[in-house]
Protein backbone atom coordinates (compact mmCIF):
# COMPACT_ATOMS: atom_id res chain seq x y z
CA UNK A 1 0.00 0.00 0.00
CA UNK A 2 1.10 3.51 -0.72
CA UNK A 3 0.44 5.10 2.68
CA UNK A 4 0.81 8.75 3.63
CA UNK A 5 0.46 10.50 6.96
CA UNK A 6 -0.12 14.22 7.24
CA UNK A 7 1.21 15.45 10.58
CA UNK A 8 1.87 18.58 12.57
CA UNK A 9 4.32 19.64 15.23
CA UNK A 10 2.46 21.01 18.26
CA UNK A 11 3.02 22.21 21.80
CA UNK A 12 3.32 19.48 24.39
CA UNK A 13 -0.01 19.07 26.21
CA UNK A 14 1.74 19.95 29.49
CA UNK A 15 2.54 23.46 28.26
CA UNK A 16 0.99 26.55 29.77
CA UNK A 17 0.24 29.27 27.26
CA UNK A 18 2.02 32.62 27.48
CA UNK A 19 1.11 35.52 25.21
CA UNK A 20 3.85 37.84 24.12
CA UNK A 21 3.29 40.75 21.75
CA UNK A 22 -0.12 39.47 20.65
CA UNK A 23 1.07 35.98 19.84
CA UNK A 24 1.46 32.71 21.68
CA UNK A 25 5.09 32.60 22.82
CA UNK A 26 6.90 29.51 21.50
CA UNK A 27 10.44 30.13 22.74
CA UNK A 28 10.63 27.91 25.78
CA UNK A 29 7.93 25.41 24.84
CA UNK A 30 8.42 21.68 24.37
CA UNK A 31 7.07 20.28 21.12
CA UNK A 32 5.65 16.90 20.19
CA UNK A 33 3.89 15.22 17.27
CA UNK A 34 0.26 16.32 17.56
CA UNK A 35 -1.22 13.42 19.62
CA UNK A 36 -3.97 12.67 17.07
CA UNK A 37 -1.38 12.58 14.28
CA UNK A 38 0.60 10.09 16.34
CA UNK A 39 -2.37 7.69 16.11
CA UNK A 40 -2.30 8.22 12.34
CA UNK A 41 1.42 7.38 12.15
CA UNK A 42 0.92 4.25 14.26
CA UNK A 43 -2.03 3.10 12.14
CA UNK A 44 -0.07 3.60 8.92
CA UNK A 45 2.90 1.63 10.27
CA UNK A 46 0.58 -1.20 11.38
CA UNK A 47 -1.07 -1.29 7.95
CA UNK A 48 2.35 -1.52 6.33
CA UNK A 49 3.29 -4.35 8.66
CA UNK A 50 0.10 -6.23 7.69
CA UNK A 51 -0.16 -5.47 4.00
CA UNK A 52 3.31 -4.34 2.94
CA UNK A 53 4.03 -1.07 1.18
CA UNK A 54 5.55 2.19 2.23
CA UNK A 55 4.72 4.95 4.72
CA UNK A 56 5.59 8.57 3.96
CA UNK A 57 5.04 11.25 6.61
CA UNK A 58 4.47 14.81 5.44
CA UNK A 59 4.41 18.07 7.34
CA UNK A 60 4.23 21.75 6.59
CA UNK A 61 6.31 24.08 8.70
CA UNK A 62 9.86 25.17 9.27
CA UNK A 63 13.14 23.32 9.90
CA UNK A 64 12.26 22.75 13.55
CA UNK A 65 9.71 20.15 12.40
CA UNK A 66 12.52 17.82 11.37
CA UNK A 67 12.68 16.52 14.93
CA UNK A 68 9.06 15.34 14.89
CA UNK A 69 9.47 13.86 11.40
CA UNK A 70 12.47 11.86 12.67
CA UNK A 71 10.33 10.60 15.56
CA UNK A 72 7.74 9.34 13.05
CA UNK A 73 10.53 7.67 11.05
CA UNK A 74 11.74 6.05 14.27
CA UNK A 75 8.21 4.71 14.84
CA UNK A 76 8.49 2.91 11.49
CA UNK A 77 7.66 5.35 8.70
CA UNK A 78 9.96 4.97 5.68
CA UNK A 79 10.24 8.47 4.27
CA UNK A 80 9.59 12.00 5.42
CA UNK A 81 8.79 15.18 3.56
CA UNK A 82 9.05 18.66 4.99
CA UNK A 83 7.28 21.36 3.03
CA UNK A 84 9.17 24.33 4.33
CA UNK A 85 7.13 27.51 4.08
CA UNK A 86 9.26 29.68 6.35
CA UNK A 87 10.48 31.88 3.49
CA UNK A 88 7.23 32.12 1.57
CA UNK A 89 4.40 32.42 4.05
CA UNK A 90 3.58 34.90 6.79
CA UNK A 91 0.43 33.45 8.29
CA UNK A 92 -1.21 30.52 6.66
CA UNK A 93 -4.54 29.01 7.66
CA UNK A 94 -6.20 25.65 7.05
CA UNK A 95 -6.97 26.72 3.47
CA UNK A 96 -3.28 27.45 2.86
CA UNK A 97 -2.13 24.15 4.35
CA UNK A 98 -4.68 22.04 2.49
CA UNK A 99 -3.94 23.82 -0.79
CA UNK A 100 -0.20 23.21 -0.50
CA UNK A 101 -0.73 19.58 0.50
CA UNK A 102 -3.14 19.06 -2.42
CA UNK A 103 -0.43 20.25 -4.78
CA UNK A 104 2.05 17.86 -3.15
CA UNK A 105 -0.35 14.89 -3.41
CA UNK A 106 -1.36 15.57 -7.02
CA UNK A 107 1.01 13.00 -8.53
CA UNK A 108 1.55 10.70 -5.53
CA UNK A 109 -1.13 8.08 -6.19
CA UNK A 110 -1.72 7.61 -2.49
CA UNK A 111 -3.92 4.66 -1.54
CA UNK A 112 -4.63 5.97 1.92
CA UNK A 113 -3.91 9.31 3.53
CA UNK A 114 -4.11 9.39 7.32
CA UNK A 115 -4.14 12.45 9.56
CA UNK A 116 -5.16 13.41 13.05
CA UNK A 117 -8.77 14.58 13.36
CA UNK A 118 -7.68 17.82 14.95
CA UNK A 119 -4.46 19.53 16.06
CA UNK A 120 -4.40 20.41 19.72
CA UNK A 121 -3.04 23.91 19.06
CA UNK A 122 -5.26 25.60 16.45
CA UNK A 123 -7.99 23.04 16.93
CA UNK A 124 -9.87 23.68 13.70
CA UNK A 125 -9.86 20.12 12.34
CA UNK A 126 -10.16 21.41 8.79
CA UNK A 127 -7.07 20.21 6.95
CA UNK A 128 -8.09 16.55 6.50
CA UNK A 129 -11.54 17.04 4.94
CA UNK A 130 -10.35 20.11 3.02
CA UNK A 131 -7.50 18.13 1.48
CA UNK A 132 -9.81 15.24 0.55
CA UNK A 133 -12.12 17.64 -1.28
CA UNK A 134 -9.22 19.15 -3.23
CA UNK A 135 -8.08 15.64 -4.19
CA UNK A 136 -11.66 14.53 -4.91
CA UNK A 137 -11.47 11.48 -2.64
CA UNK A 138 -13.81 10.60 0.25
CA UNK A 139 -12.89 11.61 3.79
CA UNK A 140 -13.99 9.82 6.93
CA UNK A 141 -13.19 11.66 10.14
CA UNK A 142 -12.67 10.61 13.77
CA UNK A 143 -12.15 6.93 13.06
CA UNK A 144 -11.56 4.41 15.84
CA UNK A 145 -11.05 1.27 13.77
CA UNK A 146 -9.81 0.50 10.27
CA UNK A 147 -9.59 -2.75 8.34
CA UNK A 148 -8.30 -2.99 4.79
CA UNK A 149 -9.13 -5.92 2.55
CA UNK A 150 -7.88 -5.38 -1.00
CA UNK A 151 -9.39 -2.07 -2.04
CA UNK A 152 -12.28 -2.47 0.43
CA UNK A 153 -12.06 -0.60 3.71
CA UNK A 154 -14.19 -1.14 6.81
CA UNK A 155 -14.18 1.72 9.24
CA UNK A 156 -15.64 2.51 12.63
CA UNK A 157 -16.20 6.19 13.21
CA UNK A 158 -16.87 7.95 16.51
CA UNK A 159 -19.92 10.18 16.17
CA UNK A 160 -20.25 11.95 19.50
CA UNK A 161 -20.09 8.70 21.39
CA UNK A 162 -22.04 6.57 18.90
CA UNK A 163 -20.23 4.35 16.42
CA UNK A 164 -20.89 4.38 12.69
CA UNK A 165 -19.69 1.36 10.74
CA UNK A 166 -18.76 2.50 7.27
CA UNK A 167 -17.77 0.73 4.07
CA UNK A 168 -15.51 2.57 1.65
CA UNK A 169 -12.97 1.94 -1.06
CA UNK A 170 -9.44 3.18 -1.66
CA UNK A 171 -8.20 5.81 -2.33
CA UNK A 172 -9.42 7.43 0.83
CA UNK A 173 -8.51 9.95 3.51
CA UNK A 174 -9.21 9.21 7.16
CA UNK A 175 -8.62 11.19 10.33
CA UNK A 176 -7.72 9.48 13.58
CA UNK A 177 -9.63 9.67 16.84
CA UNK A 178 -8.32 8.59 20.18
CA UNK A 179 -8.83 4.88 20.72
CA UNK A 180 -7.72 3.94 17.18
CA UNK A 181 -4.56 2.32 18.53
CA UNK A 182 -1.81 2.62 21.12
CA UNK A 183 1.12 4.50 19.52
CA UNK A 184 4.45 2.75 20.07
CA UNK A 185 7.47 4.39 21.61
CA UNK A 186 10.34 4.53 19.14
CA UNK A 187 12.89 1.81 19.96
CA UNK A 188 16.59 2.55 20.12
CA UNK A 189 17.33 0.65 16.88
CA UNK A 190 14.34 2.51 15.39
CA UNK A 191 15.86 5.84 16.38
CA UNK A 192 19.24 4.84 14.91
CA UNK A 193 17.64 3.73 11.64
CA UNK A 194 15.56 6.90 11.44
CA UNK A 195 18.69 9.01 11.18
CA UNK A 196 19.50 7.38 7.84
CA UNK A 197 16.01 7.38 6.38
CA UNK A 198 15.32 9.91 3.59
CA UNK A 199 13.94 13.30 4.60
CA UNK A 200 13.12 15.45 1.62
CA UNK A 201 12.74 19.19 1.99
CA UNK A 202 10.51 21.06 -0.44
CA UNK A 203 9.64 24.70 -0.79
CA UNK A 204 6.47 26.11 -2.32
CA UNK A 205 8.46 26.80 -5.45
CA UNK A 206 9.08 23.06 -5.87
CA UNK A 207 5.30 22.60 -5.86
CA UNK A 208 4.84 25.35 -8.45
CA UNK A 209 3.08 27.48 -5.89
CA UNK A 210 3.74 30.93 -4.57
CA UNK A 211 2.65 32.37 -1.25
CA UNK A 212 0.02 34.62 -2.80
CA UNK A 213 -1.84 31.79 -4.54
CA UNK A 214 -2.49 30.05 -1.27
CA UNK A 215 -2.88 33.13 0.88
CA UNK A 216 -4.96 32.63 4.02
CA UNK A 217 -8.66 33.47 3.81
CA UNK A 218 -8.90 34.22 7.52
CA UNK A 219 -6.92 36.47 9.81
CA UNK A 220 -6.32 36.40 13.55
CA UNK A 221 -6.89 39.86 15.01
CA UNK A 222 -6.38 39.11 18.68
CA UNK A 223 -5.08 36.37 20.96
CA UNK A 224 -5.91 36.42 24.66
CA UNK A 225 -5.99 34.29 27.77
CA UNK A 226 -9.28 33.43 29.46
CA UNK A 227 -9.86 35.20 32.77
CA UNK A 228 -8.14 33.30 35.53
CA UNK A 229 -10.69 31.24 37.37
CA UNK A 230 -10.67 31.94 41.07
CA UNK A 231 -10.80 29.02 43.40
CA UNK A 232 -14.31 28.75 44.78
CA UNK A 233 -15.67 27.56 48.07
CA UNK A 234 -14.77 24.29 49.64
CA UNK A 235 -17.78 23.35 51.75
CA UNK A 236 -17.44 22.24 55.33
CA UNK A 237 -19.30 20.20 57.89
CA UNK A 238 -20.84 16.77 57.90
CA UNK A 239 -21.21 15.20 54.41
CA UNK A 240 -25.03 15.20 54.39
CA UNK A 241 -25.11 18.88 55.28
CA UNK A 242 -22.51 19.68 52.62
CA UNK A 243 -24.61 17.96 49.97
CA UNK A 244 -27.70 19.94 51.05
CA UNK A 245 -25.72 23.16 50.96
CA UNK A 246 -24.38 22.31 47.51
CA UNK A 247 -27.87 21.72 46.11
CA UNK A 248 -29.06 25.00 47.55
CA UNK A 249 -26.03 26.87 46.11
CA UNK A 250 -26.59 25.32 42.67
CA UNK A 251 -30.23 26.42 42.77
CA UNK A 252 -29.99 29.85 44.32
CA UNK A 253 -26.48 31.15 43.67
CA UNK A 254 -25.30 29.48 40.47
CA UNK A 255 -28.90 29.04 39.23
CA UNK A 256 -27.94 26.04 37.09
CA UNK A 257 -30.58 23.60 38.34
Amino acid sequence: MNLFVVMKRTFDTEEKIVIDDGRVAEESAEFIINPYDEYAVEEAVQLKEQHGGEVTVVTIGDEEAEKELRTALAMGADKAVLINTEEDLEDGDAYTTAKALAEFFKDKEADLILAGNVAIDEGSGQVGPRLAEFLDIPAITTITNLEVDGSQVLIERDVEGDIEKIEATLPLLVTAQQGLNEPRYPSLPGIMKAKKKPLEELELDDLDLDGEEIEAKTKTVEVFLPPEKEAGRVLEGEIGAQVQELVSLLQKEAKVI
Binding site: T13, D162, E167, E215, T218, V256
Partner: protein
Protein backbone atom coordinates in the same frame (compact mmCIF):
# COMPACT_ATOMS: atom_id res chain seq x y z
CA UNK B 1 -24.65 45.87 5.32
CA UNK B 2 -27.27 43.21 5.55
CA UNK B 3 -26.34 39.74 4.38
CA UNK B 4 -28.17 36.59 3.41
CA UNK B 5 -27.04 33.77 5.69
CA UNK B 6 -27.66 30.04 5.31
CA UNK B 7 -27.81 27.71 8.29
CA UNK B 8 -28.07 23.93 8.35
CA UNK B 9 -30.72 22.23 10.46
CA UNK B 10 -29.24 19.05 11.85
CA UNK B 11 -31.59 16.16 12.48
CA UNK B 12 -30.96 13.45 15.02
CA UNK B 13 -33.46 10.58 15.38
CA UNK B 14 -36.22 12.60 13.76
CA UNK B 15 -35.79 15.79 15.78
CA UNK B 16 -33.87 18.97 15.19
CA UNK B 17 -30.83 19.37 17.40
CA UNK B 18 -30.72 22.32 19.74
CA UNK B 19 -27.40 23.31 18.15
CA UNK B 20 -29.33 24.05 14.94
CA UNK B 21 -31.41 26.70 16.70
CA UNK B 22 -28.16 28.19 17.98
CA UNK B 23 -26.89 28.54 14.41
CA UNK B 24 -29.93 30.73 13.65
CA UNK B 25 -29.06 33.03 16.55
CA UNK B 26 -25.44 33.18 15.33
CA UNK B 27 -26.61 33.91 11.79
CA UNK B 28 -28.67 36.84 13.08
CA UNK B 29 -25.51 38.65 14.21
CA UNK B 30 -23.90 38.13 10.81
CA UNK B 31 -27.03 38.86 8.76
CA UNK B 32 -27.82 42.30 10.23
CA UNK B 33 -31.46 42.18 9.18
CA UNK B 34 -30.60 40.14 6.11
CA UNK B 35 -32.53 36.99 5.34
CA UNK B 36 -31.79 33.78 7.25
CA UNK B 37 -32.46 30.68 5.20
CA UNK B 38 -32.38 27.26 6.84
CA UNK B 39 -31.46 24.12 4.92
CA UNK B 40 -33.00 20.82 5.93
CA UNK B 41 -31.55 17.74 4.26
CA UNK B 42 -32.74 14.16 4.64
CA UNK B 43 -35.31 11.69 3.44
CA UNK B 44 -38.49 13.29 4.81
CA UNK B 45 -37.75 16.53 6.59
CA UNK B 46 -40.47 18.96 5.61
CA UNK B 47 -42.39 18.48 8.85
CA UNK B 48 -39.49 20.01 10.78
CA UNK B 49 -39.33 23.21 8.73
CA UNK B 50 -41.78 25.21 10.88
CA UNK B 51 -39.68 24.71 13.98
CA UNK B 52 -36.66 26.34 12.30
CA UNK B 53 -38.93 29.29 11.45
CA UNK B 54 -40.24 29.48 15.03
CA UNK B 55 -36.62 29.81 16.16
CA UNK B 56 -35.93 32.70 13.80
CA UNK B 57 -35.27 31.39 10.29
CA UNK B 58 -37.06 33.49 7.65
CA UNK B 59 -37.32 30.76 5.06
CA UNK B 60 -36.57 27.05 4.76
CA UNK B 61 -35.25 25.11 1.79
CA UNK B 62 -35.67 21.36 2.01
CA UNK B 63 -33.66 18.84 0.04
CA UNK B 64 -35.12 15.37 0.17
CA UNK B 65 -33.47 12.34 -1.37
CA UNK B 66 -33.16 8.64 -0.66
CA UNK B 67 -29.38 9.03 -0.47
CA UNK B 68 -29.64 11.66 2.27
CA UNK B 69 -31.43 9.44 4.79
CA UNK B 70 -28.13 9.02 6.65
CA UNK B 71 -25.47 11.67 6.71
CA UNK B 72 -22.48 10.98 4.47
CA UNK B 73 -20.01 13.69 3.54
CA UNK B 74 -20.40 12.80 -0.14
CA UNK B 75 -24.20 13.03 -0.13
CA UNK B 76 -24.43 16.15 1.97
CA UNK B 77 -21.63 17.93 0.11
CA UNK B 78 -23.54 17.47 -3.14
CA UNK B 79 -26.90 18.51 -1.69
CA UNK B 80 -25.69 21.58 0.20
CA UNK B 81 -23.55 22.74 -2.71
CA UNK B 82 -26.68 22.78 -4.87
CA UNK B 83 -28.53 24.88 -2.29
CA UNK B 84 -25.61 27.29 -2.02
CA UNK B 85 -25.51 27.67 -5.78
CA UNK B 86 -29.23 28.37 -5.90
CA UNK B 87 -29.24 30.78 -2.95
CA UNK B 88 -25.87 32.57 -3.35
CA UNK B 89 -25.55 33.39 0.38
CA UNK B 90 -23.01 35.80 1.85
CA UNK B 91 -22.73 33.80 5.06
CA UNK B 92 -22.95 30.19 6.23
CA UNK B 93 -23.27 28.90 9.80
CA UNK B 94 -23.18 25.24 10.83
CA UNK B 95 -22.93 23.67 14.27
CA UNK B 96 -19.52 22.35 15.29
CA UNK B 97 -20.85 18.82 15.73
CA UNK B 98 -19.51 15.54 14.31
CA UNK B 99 -21.46 16.35 11.13
CA UNK B 100 -20.44 20.00 10.94
CA UNK B 101 -16.79 19.26 11.65
CA UNK B 102 -16.60 16.86 8.71
CA UNK B 103 -18.86 18.64 6.24
CA UNK B 104 -17.95 22.32 6.67
CA UNK B 105 -14.25 22.03 5.71
CA UNK B 106 -15.16 19.99 2.63
CA UNK B 107 -17.64 22.62 1.52
CA UNK B 108 -15.17 25.40 2.28
CA UNK B 109 -12.64 23.74 -0.03
CA UNK B 110 -15.24 23.25 -2.70
CA UNK B 111 -16.27 26.90 -2.50
CA UNK B 112 -12.61 28.02 -2.13
CA UNK B 113 -13.55 29.99 0.98
CA UNK B 114 -12.21 30.48 4.47
CA UNK B 115 -13.82 28.81 7.45
CA UNK B 116 -13.64 29.65 11.14
CA UNK B 117 -14.27 26.55 13.23
CA UNK B 118 -15.51 25.98 16.77
CA UNK B 119 -16.69 29.52 17.43
CA UNK B 120 -17.91 30.39 20.93
CA UNK B 121 -19.04 33.99 20.32
CA UNK B 122 -19.63 36.41 17.47
CA UNK B 123 -19.53 40.20 17.51
CA UNK B 124 -19.74 43.01 15.01
CA UNK B 125 -16.71 45.28 14.98
CA UNK B 126 -17.47 48.05 12.49
CA UNK B 127 -17.95 46.28 9.15
CA UNK B 128 -16.11 43.18 10.33
CA UNK B 129 -17.69 40.16 11.92
CA UNK B 130 -15.30 38.89 14.58
CA UNK B 131 -15.39 35.28 15.71
CA UNK B 132 -13.98 34.24 19.06
CA UNK B 133 -12.75 30.67 19.35
CA UNK B 134 -10.66 28.65 21.78
CA UNK B 135 -7.13 27.60 20.85
CA UNK B 136 -4.92 25.14 22.70
CA UNK B 137 -8.17 23.49 23.83
CA UNK B 138 -9.30 26.56 25.72
CA UNK B 139 -5.97 27.46 27.33
CA UNK B 140 -6.21 30.60 25.18
CA UNK B 141 -8.67 32.27 22.79
CA UNK B 142 -8.35 34.06 19.48
CA UNK B 143 -10.52 36.47 17.51
CA UNK B 144 -10.62 35.86 13.79
CA UNK B 145 -12.14 37.46 10.74
CA UNK B 146 -12.76 36.14 7.24
CA UNK B 147 -10.68 38.20 4.81
CA UNK B 148 -11.95 36.87 1.52
CA UNK B 149 -15.26 35.55 0.22
CA UNK B 150 -18.24 34.07 2.02
CA UNK B 151 -18.34 34.32 5.81
CA UNK B 152 -18.33 30.72 6.99
CA UNK B 153 -18.25 29.50 10.59
CA UNK B 154 -19.08 26.48 12.69
CA UNK B 155 -20.28 27.25 16.20
CA UNK B 156 -19.66 25.20 19.31
CA UNK B 157 -22.90 23.87 20.82
CA UNK B 158 -24.05 25.41 24.11
CA UNK B 159 -22.30 28.75 23.74
CA UNK B 160 -24.59 30.97 21.68
CA UNK B 161 -28.12 30.96 23.09
CA UNK B 162 -30.96 30.25 20.66
CA UNK B 163 -33.51 33.00 20.05
CA UNK B 164 -36.77 32.74 21.92
CA UNK B 165 -39.16 30.35 20.21
CA UNK B 166 -42.06 32.22 18.62
CA UNK B 167 -44.79 29.94 17.31
CA UNK B 168 -46.57 32.80 15.57
CA UNK B 169 -43.68 33.33 13.15
CA UNK B 170 -44.32 32.21 9.60
CA UNK B 171 -42.11 31.76 6.58
CA UNK B 172 -41.95 30.16 3.19
CA UNK B 173 -40.90 26.52 2.85
CA UNK B 174 -39.66 25.45 -0.57
CA UNK B 175 -37.99 22.31 -1.79
CA UNK B 176 -35.05 21.98 -4.10
CA UNK B 177 -34.59 18.94 -6.33
CA UNK B 178 -31.07 17.66 -6.13
CA UNK B 179 -29.19 14.90 -7.83
CA UNK B 180 -27.17 12.80 -5.43
CA UNK B 181 -24.82 10.63 -7.38
CA UNK B 182 -23.28 7.36 -6.23
CA UNK B 183 -21.97 7.66 -2.74
CA UNK B 184 -18.43 6.48 -2.27
CA UNK B 185 -18.97 5.60 1.38
CA UNK B 186 -21.80 3.56 2.82
CA UNK B 187 -23.02 3.39 6.40
CA UNK B 188 -23.57 -0.24 7.32
CA UNK B 189 -24.62 0.16 10.91
CA UNK B 190 -25.02 2.68 13.70
CA UNK B 191 -24.29 1.54 17.23
CA UNK B 192 -25.68 3.85 19.89
CA UNK B 193 -23.50 4.18 22.94
CA UNK B 194 -25.14 7.06 24.71
CA UNK B 195 -27.76 5.16 26.65
CA UNK B 196 -29.52 8.25 27.93
CA UNK B 197 -29.48 9.98 24.54
CA UNK B 198 -27.66 13.06 25.81
CA UNK B 199 -24.35 13.57 24.09
CA UNK B 200 -21.40 15.36 25.62
CA UNK B 201 -21.12 18.26 23.19
CA UNK B 202 -24.69 19.40 23.79
CA UNK B 203 -25.19 18.36 27.41
CA UNK B 204 -26.18 21.11 29.84
CA UNK B 205 -24.94 18.99 32.72
CA UNK B 206 -21.92 16.69 32.71
CA UNK B 207 -20.96 14.30 35.48
CA UNK B 208 -17.34 13.31 34.89
CA UNK B 209 -15.38 10.56 36.60
CA UNK B 210 -11.65 10.14 37.03
CA UNK B 211 -9.30 7.54 38.42
CA UNK B 212 -11.06 7.93 41.75
CA UNK B 213 -14.06 6.08 40.28
CA UNK B 214 -11.85 2.98 40.46
CA UNK B 215 -13.72 0.65 38.06
CA UNK B 216 -16.28 0.37 35.29
CA UNK B 217 -18.97 -0.39 37.90
CA UNK B 218 -17.83 2.68 39.82
CA UNK B 219 -19.40 4.81 37.05
CA UNK B 220 -22.87 3.52 37.98
CA UNK B 221 -23.61 6.19 40.66
CA UNK B 222 -22.45 8.85 38.16
CA UNK B 223 -24.95 7.58 35.59
CA UNK B 224 -27.72 7.69 38.20
CA UNK B 225 -26.88 11.29 39.04
CA UNK B 226 -26.73 12.16 35.33
CA UNK B 227 -30.19 10.65 34.83
CA UNK B 228 -31.70 12.76 37.59
CA UNK B 229 -30.21 15.93 36.12
CA UNK B 230 -30.83 15.01 32.47
CA UNK B 231 -27.11 15.16 31.87
CA UNK B 232 -24.36 13.10 30.27
CA UNK B 233 -21.44 11.18 31.75
CA UNK B 234 -17.87 12.02 30.81
CA UNK B 235 -14.44 10.93 32.00
CA UNK B 236 -10.85 12.02 32.44
CA UNK B 237 -8.02 10.47 30.48
CA UNK B 238 -6.95 8.63 33.61
CA UNK B 239 -10.29 6.79 33.79
CA UNK B 240 -10.18 5.95 30.06
CA UNK B 241 -6.56 4.77 30.17
CA UNK B 242 -7.43 2.57 33.15
CA UNK B 243 -10.17 0.96 31.04
CA UNK B 244 -13.10 2.12 33.21
CA UNK B 245 -14.85 3.63 30.20
CA UNK B 246 -14.68 4.25 26.48
CA UNK B 247 -12.39 6.91 25.00
CA UNK B 248 -15.47 8.45 23.40
CA UNK B 249 -16.26 9.85 26.85
CA UNK B 250 -12.87 11.48 27.39
CA UNK B 251 -12.85 15.19 28.19
CA UNK B 252 -9.64 17.15 27.91
CA UNK B 253 -7.02 18.45 25.52
CA UNK B 254 -7.14 15.10 23.77
CA UNK B 255 -10.80 14.15 23.83
CA UNK B 256 -13.79 16.46 23.95
CA UNK B 257 -13.76 20.09 24.99
CA UNK B 258 -17.03 20.88 26.76
CA UNK B 259 -18.74 23.93 28.22
CA UNK B 260 -21.90 22.79 30.02
CA UNK B 261 -23.83 24.89 32.54
CA UNK B 262 -22.87 22.46 35.29
CA UNK B 263 -19.80 20.23 35.43
CA UNK B 264 -19.43 17.86 38.34
CA UNK B 265 -15.93 16.39 38.55
CA UNK B 266 -15.84 13.22 40.62
CA UNK B 267 -12.52 11.74 41.67
CA UNK B 268 -10.67 13.81 39.08
CA UNK B 269 -7.36 15.31 40.18
CA UNK B 270 -7.37 18.08 37.59
CA UNK B 271 -4.34 17.67 35.31
CA UNK B 272 -3.73 20.67 33.03
CA UNK B 273 -4.86 18.62 30.01
CA UNK B 274 -8.19 17.85 31.67
CA UNK B 275 -8.72 21.45 32.78
CA UNK B 276 -8.22 22.58 29.18
CA UNK B 277 -11.25 20.52 28.23
CA UNK B 278 -13.69 21.74 30.88
CA UNK B 279 -12.55 24.84 32.75
CA UNK B 280 -14.77 27.12 30.65
CA UNK B 281 -17.89 25.39 31.98
CA UNK B 282 -20.25 27.83 33.66
CA UNK B 283 -20.36 26.20 37.08
CA UNK B 284 -17.89 23.59 38.26
CA UNK B 285 -18.33 21.30 41.25
CA UNK B 286 -15.41 19.18 42.45
CA UNK B 287 -15.76 16.11 44.63
CA UNK B 288 -12.44 14.60 45.66
CA UNK B 289 -10.91 12.85 48.66
CA UNK B 290 -7.68 14.81 48.31
CA UNK B 291 -8.10 18.39 49.59
CA UNK B 292 -4.93 19.35 47.66
CA UNK B 293 -6.31 18.16 44.29
CA UNK B 294 -5.76 20.72 41.55
CA UNK B 295 -9.41 20.48 40.47
CA UNK B 296 -10.40 22.56 43.52
CA UNK B 297 -8.50 25.51 41.99
CA UNK B 298 -11.02 25.82 39.18
CA UNK B 299 -14.12 24.62 41.03
CA UNK B 300 -16.84 27.03 42.14
CA UNK B 301 -17.89 24.59 44.84
CA UNK B 302 -15.88 21.80 46.33
CA UNK B 303 -16.65 18.89 48.60
CA UNK B 304 -13.71 17.06 50.14
CA UNK B 305 -14.94 13.52 50.53
CA UNK B 306 -15.37 10.07 49.02
CA UNK B 307 -17.39 10.29 45.83
CA UNK B 308 -19.10 6.98 46.69
CA UNK B 309 -20.55 8.67 49.79
CA UNK B 310 -21.27 12.05 48.22
CA UNK B 311 -22.79 11.13 44.84
CA UNK B 312 -25.59 8.84 46.10
CA UNK B 313 -26.54 11.47 48.70
CA UNK B 314 -26.58 14.14 46.03
CA UNK B 315 -28.70 11.98 43.73
CA UNK B 316 -31.14 11.31 46.58
CA UNK B 317 -31.35 14.99 47.50
CA UNK B 318 -32.02 16.05 43.90
CA UNK B 319 -34.59 13.29 43.40
CA UNK B 320 -36.44 14.50 46.47
CA UNK B 321 -36.48 18.02 45.09
CA UNK B 322 -37.45 16.86 41.60
CA UNK B 323 -35.26 19.57 40.15
CA UNK B 324 -34.79 19.98 36.45
CA UNK B 325 -32.25 21.88 34.46
Amino acid sequence: MSKKVLVLGEINEGSLRNASFETIAAAKTIAENGEIVAILAGKAVRSLAQEMIHYGADRVVTVEHENLSHYTSDGYTQAITDVIEAEQPEGLVFAHTALGKELAPRLASKLETGLISDVTSIEKQGDDVQFTRPIYSGKAFEKKVITDGVIFATIRPNNIAPLEKDETRTGEVTSLDVEIKDLRTKIKELIRNTTDGVDLSEAKVIIAGGRGVKSEEGFEPLHELADVLGGAVGASRGACDAGYCDYALQIGQTGKVVTPDLYIACGISGAIQHLAGMSNSKTIVAINKDPEANIFNVADYGIVGDLFDVIPLLTQELKALKVGV
